[in-house]
Symmetry: C2
Subunit: 195 residues, 2 copies
Amino acid sequence: METYTEVRKFVSRFVILNEEEWNAVLPLIKTRYLKKNDYFVREGEVAKYISFTEEGYLRVLYNHDGTEITRDISPLHSFVTALPSFISHKPSFEIIQAITDCKLFIIYRDDLENLYNHYINWQKVGRRIMEEMFVETQNRIYSFITQSAEMRYKEMMNKFPDIFLHVPLQYIASYLGITSQSLSRLRKSIQFSEE
Amino acid sequence: METYTEVRKFVSRFVILNEEEWNAVLPLIKTRYLKKNDYFVREGEVAKYISFTEEGYLRVLYNHDGTEITRDISPLHSFVTALPSFISHKPSFEIIQAITDCKLFIIYRDDLENLYNHYINWQKVGRRIMEEMFVETQNRIYSFITQSAEMRYKEMMNKFPDIFLHVPLQYIASYLGITSQSLSRLRKSIQFSEE
DNA sequence: GCTTTCTTTTAACAAATGGTAAAAAAGTAC
DNA sequence: GTACTTTTTTACCATTTGTTAAAAGAAAGC
C-alpha cells in the first residue's frame, strides 16, 4: 500500500489538510511506470492527467521547426502536466517525456476537478501551487533578462545538482536557451577558470 | 456608483459567478488613482493589495545593481501585484510603478483571503487566473529560448500595440531582455527592411 | 519661451552566442 | 566484444547583442 509521503509533504507546504480532506484524494491516485524515453504526453494528445514524479525525471518540450525545445525539466517530487492542454482540453503542443525510468503518481483531470469542487481546501491547494509555480517562472524570466548563459548555467548547477547526474546536456542547454555547442564551450571555459 | 464591468468581464472568462458570489466582492473593492511615476508597491514594502488596472499601465520592475529591470508591463484591464511579497507577507524586492496616470481597483490581501475562504467559486477564480498567468509566463520563456530579440519585439507589437503608444521604449527594451541601444538598432533595421 | 532633464538614437568596437561541419566520446544493441 | 547510434566536444566563421560615449530629440519645470 502506497503512503504518498512525498506528495503529502509537498501539499503540506501550502495547505494543512485534515484527515478527511487528505483521504479524499487517495482513491484518485494511480501509479504509473515509465521507461526512459517513454512519453507521458504525446504531441497532439489531450493531457488528461497531472503527475507527481515520485521517482525519476520528466522533461517538457515541444517541436520548433524540427528542433526540440526543452522548456522544463521536472525536479524530483514535483507536479507536472502540459498545462495549456490540461486546462483547455485541447490537443497538446507540448510533449512530456521520461528522461529516466520514472514512477509517477497520476490523477485524472476529471477526478481532480471533482476534488476541487467538493473541497475548498483542495481548491486552495491548487491555487497555492499555481501561485508558487508562477513565481518560479517569473524568476526564470528575470534570469533570462539579467543573466548571461554562463550565470544561468551556474545557478542551475547550484539549485538542481542532482539533475546534472541524470539529464543529457543537450536538454539542459535547451532549458538554458542556448545550443549544446555553446554549453560545451561554456563548460570548458568554466573548467579552465576554476583551475 | 462603480459597475466594475471590466472586472466582471475578466472574471467571467474563468468562472461564472452567481449574483450572491459576485456581490460578495463589491464591498471589498476600493478605487485608487495614481499619477504617472507614482508607486503602487515600493521596494521593501509588503504588497498588501492586488490591483486591477481599470485605466492606465503599470510596470513591475526591480533594481539589479542599479539598473531597473522591467519584468512586466500590465496590459489594460488585468490584475497586478508583487506576488512573491503578496503571498509570503515579506518585503517586496519588486517595485510596481505607474507608467501613465492610472485608475486602479484594489482589494486588500486579507479581504481577498476571506473571500477565497468563504466562496469555493472565488477560490476557483483565483486558481484559474493563476493557471492562465502561469501559461502566459511559460510562453514568454519559450520566446526567450527560441526567438531573437527582433522576433520578440515584433510579436509584442502585434500582441500589445496599445502599449507602444504609452510606454517608454527603454521599459519595453528591458521587458524584451535587451538594452535600449539594441532596441533602437533593431527598430532601425526593421524600418529599412520594410521599405 | 528658455533651460534643464530625461529619452532615444547613432557609432565603433567588444563580447557572447549561433551555425555548420566534423571528430571524439559515450551509450546501446546484438 | 564489435558495430552502430547518439551525445558531446572542438573549431572556424557569422551574427546578434552588449558596452561606452556622445549627439539628437522630446518632455518637463519654471
